[in-house]
C-alpha cells in the first residue's frame, strides 16, 4: 500500500507535494549528442525549466602541452581542436606566431590558406547541417551531405596527405604546394557539392516537419547573442553581419568578392539558412582563389633531367652532395609539392622560421644544419618577447590564438579562444522554457565540437 502511494507520488505527482519537477540527465554519452557533454535539465512536464551544462570531458591540456614544446610542435595539436575543419586551426595558430615574429607570408601561401580554409569550412557546415537534420529524422540529408563531405575530404587528402589530422600549416608557410590538376578536382567536387545542396534545399528548406522543429526554436536576440560573446553563424543568424573575413580581413580575403549571409530571427532555422548560404559563398571564395592564385598555374611539374628520389636521398646520405642541390628530381623525396621550387614560392625566405625543403635537408649540409637548427631543443623559432592575438573566422565563429613569448623557443602561453564555447555557455538560455525535444535541434545548431570546447 505504501509502495503504491510512493509510486503515485513520484510518477503522477499526486499527494502532498503536488506536481514535481523531473530531473533528466542528457549525456555525457547520449546518442543525439555529437560530443561528450552533459545537460542536466529540470523538466516540468515536457518543458525545460532550468538547465545546467557541464563540459570538460574531452579536456586534454592543449594549452599546457603547447607550453612544453617548441613553437612548431603545436601544429599537430591544433589539428585536434576543431577536428572537422582542422586546416583553419593550423593556419590560425601559424598566423598568430607569424604576427608575433613580425613576418608576412608569401602571396601564394595566403591564397592556399584561403582556399583550404574555405574547403574546411564547407566540410564543417556540411557535418553540422547534416547531423542536425538527421536528428530530426532526415536521414537522407545526412547521407547526401556526408557524401559531399567525402568529395571535399578527398581534396584535403590530395593536398595534405591526410583527411583529419592534416598538420598542413607551417609557421611561415604551408607544408606543400597544391598538387597538379587541383583546380579541376576542385571544380568537380564543387559541382557535386552544389548538386547536394540543391537537393537538400528541395528536401528540407520549406519542409513542414523540418520547419516546425526549427522555426522559432532556440532563438536568441541580437543583443543577447552579442552579450554572450557568440560569433560565427549563430551571430549572423541573429542579424549581425560580423565576419572576421570581412571586418578585419586577413590573408587574401580583402581581394575576394563574397557576401556575408545574415539571418533575421536568430532561431535554428535562420542558423540553418546562414550555414547553407555560407557554403555557397565559401565555394565562390575558393574558386576565386584558384583563379587568382599567383606564382603560376598549379599544374607545374618539374621538367628536364630527373633522377630517382631514392637515389637522391641515398647520395645525400653518403655525403655525395656536391651539386646535388641543383639536380632536378622527378618527384620530391617525400611528398608531392614538397620540392625546392614549391618551397621558394610558398614559404617566407627567413631561414630562422621555416623548415627547409626535403631536398635541401637531404642534399646539402647547409640544408641539414638549417633543419637541425629549427628542430633541436633550445634553437628553433624564437619570437622576441611579447604577445599577440590573431583572430580568424573559424567555421563556428571567431577562432583566436593569443600567444605570449618570453623570447625562448617555446611559447610561454598559448591561449585558444574556442568559437563554440560561448554558444555552449548560452545553451541553457536557448533551451530553457522550451520543450525537451527542442534541445536536440538547438544543440545541433550550436555545432559543439568537443575538441575545441574542452581543449
Amino acid at each position: 500500500m505504501a509502495d503504491e502511494r510512493v509510486t503515485r507520488e513520484l510518477l503522477l505527482g499526486e499527494g502532498s507535494g503536488g506536481s514535481q519537477n523531473l530531473y533528466v540527465n542528457m549525456g555525457p554519452a547520449h546518442p543525439a549528442m555529437h560530443g561528450i557533454i552533459r545537460i542536466f535539465a529540470e523538466l516540468d512536464g515536457e518543458t525545460v525549466v532550468k538547465a545546467d551544462v557541464e563540459i570538460g570531458y574531452l579536456h586534454r591540456g592543449f594549452e599546457k602541452d603547447c607550453e612544453a614544446h617548441v613553437y612548431g610542435n603545436a601544429i599537430p595539436y591544433t589539428d585536434r581542436l576543431n577536428y572537422v575543419s582542422p586546416l583553419i586551426n593550423n593556419f590560425g595558430y601559424a598566423s598568430a606566431v607569424e604576427k608575433l615574429l613580425g613576418i608576412d607570408v608569401t602571396e601564394r601561401c595566403k591564397y592556399i590558406r584561403v582556399i583550404m580554409s574555405e574547403i574546411s569550412r564547407i566540410c564543417d557546415h556540411l557535418t553540422c547541417v547534416g547531423a542536425s537534420a538527421m536528428e530530426l529524422g532526415a536521414f537522407t540529408v545526412f547521407l547526401y551531405m556526408i557524401k559531399a563531405r567525402e568529395f571535399l575530404w578527398e581534396l584535403v587528402e590530395d593536398v595534405t596527405g591526410a583527411r583529419l589530422t592534416i598538420s598542413y600549416g607551417r609557421i611561415g608557410g604551408v607544408k606543400a604546394d597544391l598538387p597538379a590538376g587541383f583546380d579541376l578536382k576542385v571544380k568537380r567536387a564543387f559541382a557535386e557539392t552544389r548538386q547536394v545542396l540543391e537537393e537538400v534545399h528541395r528536401l528540407i528548406t520549406g519542409n513542414r516537419i523540418f520547419m516546425d522543429r526549427m522555426v522559432g526554436v532556440g532563438a536568441m536576440t541580437r543583443e543577447d547573442t552579442i552579450a554572450w560573446g557568440i560569433t560565427g553563424p549563430l551571430l549572423r543568424a541573429s542579424g549581425v553581419p560580423f565576419d572576421v573575413r570581412k571586418t578585419q580581413p586577413y590573408w587574401a580575403y580583402d581581394r575576394m568578392d563574397f557576401e556575408v549571409a545574415v539571418g533575421k530571427n536568430g532561431d535554428n532555422f535562420d542558423r540553418y539558412l546562414v550555414r547553407m548560404a555560407e557554403m555557397e559563398q565559401s565555394m565562390r571564395i575558393a574558386e576565386q582563389g584558384l583563379d587568382g592564385i599567383p606564382g603560376g598555374a598549379i599544374q607545374v611539374d618539374w621538367e628536364g633531367r630527373a633522377i630517382d628520389p631514392d637515389t637522391y636521398v641515398d647520395r645525400g646520405k653518403q655525403g655525395k652532395t656536391e651539386g646535388l642541390l641543383f639536380v632536378p628530381i622527378k618527384l620530391s623525396p617525400n611528398l608531392q609539392g614538397q620540392d625546392r621550387g614549391a618551397h621558394a614560392r610558398l614559404d617566407v625566405p627567413d631561414k630562422r622560421v621555416v623548415l627547409p625543403s626535403k631536398e635541401a635537408a637531404y642534399g646539402s649540409i647547409e640544408g641539414l644544419m638549417n633543419h637541425f637548427m629549427l628542430v633541436m631543443e633550445g634553437y628553433g623559432v624564437r619570437p622576441p618577447a611579447g604577445e599577440a592575438y590573431f583572430p580568424v573566422e573559424g567555421a563556428n565563429g571567431e577562432l583566436g590564438f593569443y600567444v605570449v613569448s618570453d623570447g625562448s623557443d617555446r611559447p610561454y602561453r598559448v591561449r585558444c579562444r574556442p568559437p563554440c564555447l560561448p554558444p555552449v555557455a548560452a545553451l541553457p538560455r536557448m533551451i530553457e522554457g522550451q520543450m525537451i525535444a527542442d534541445v536536440i535541434p538547438t544543440f545541433g545548431s550550436v555545432n559543439m565540437i568537443g575538441g575545441e570546447l574542452d581543449r
Binding site: 563540459i55 570538460g56 560573446g229 591561449r415
Partner: protein, 165 residues
Amino acid sequence: MDGQAILARIVERFGGGVLDTHAYRGDHTAIVDRSTVESALTLSRDDAALRFDMLMDLTAVDYLRYPGREDGPRFDVVYHLYSVEHNHRVRIKVPVEQDDPWVPTASGIWPIANWLEREVWDMYGIRFEGHPDLRRLLMYEEFVGHPLRKDYPINRRQPLIGPKV
C-alpha cells in the same frame, strides 16, 4: 577609432587606474589596476565612442618564470574586447598578486564572463569576487591544484575518480 585613440580615451577617463599602455604588433593594450578594472570594463562597454559590447576572450597568464618579471605580480588577467558597432579591439590586462589572487567579476557586464571566469579559476586559481557560481569548468571537482600554473608539473598524475570496478 584606432588603437591609440582607444587607449587615450581609457587613460583620459581613468588616469590613475591605468598603470601602463602599450602597442605591440598592432595590438593595443591597457594595463589597469585591480581596483579600477570593474568600472573600466563597464565604461568600455557603455561609452559611446568605445562601445565594447563583446567580451571576445578572458584568460590569464602566469608570469612566474617570465624573465624580467620575477618580482612583479605573478598573474595577469587578460580581457580581449571587441566592438561590433565600431569594429575595433583592445586588450585590457590586470596584474594580480600571488598571495591575494582575485579580481572583481565581469559576469554582470557580459554574461559570457561567467564561464570564462570559471575556466580561469579552474586553470589558475584566480578567484572572481562576486561571481555567482565559481565552480571548475573543465576539470572535475575532486581535482587538486590549478593545472595551467607554471609550478604545476605537466606530468603530475591525480587519482582516478569514479566508481570502482
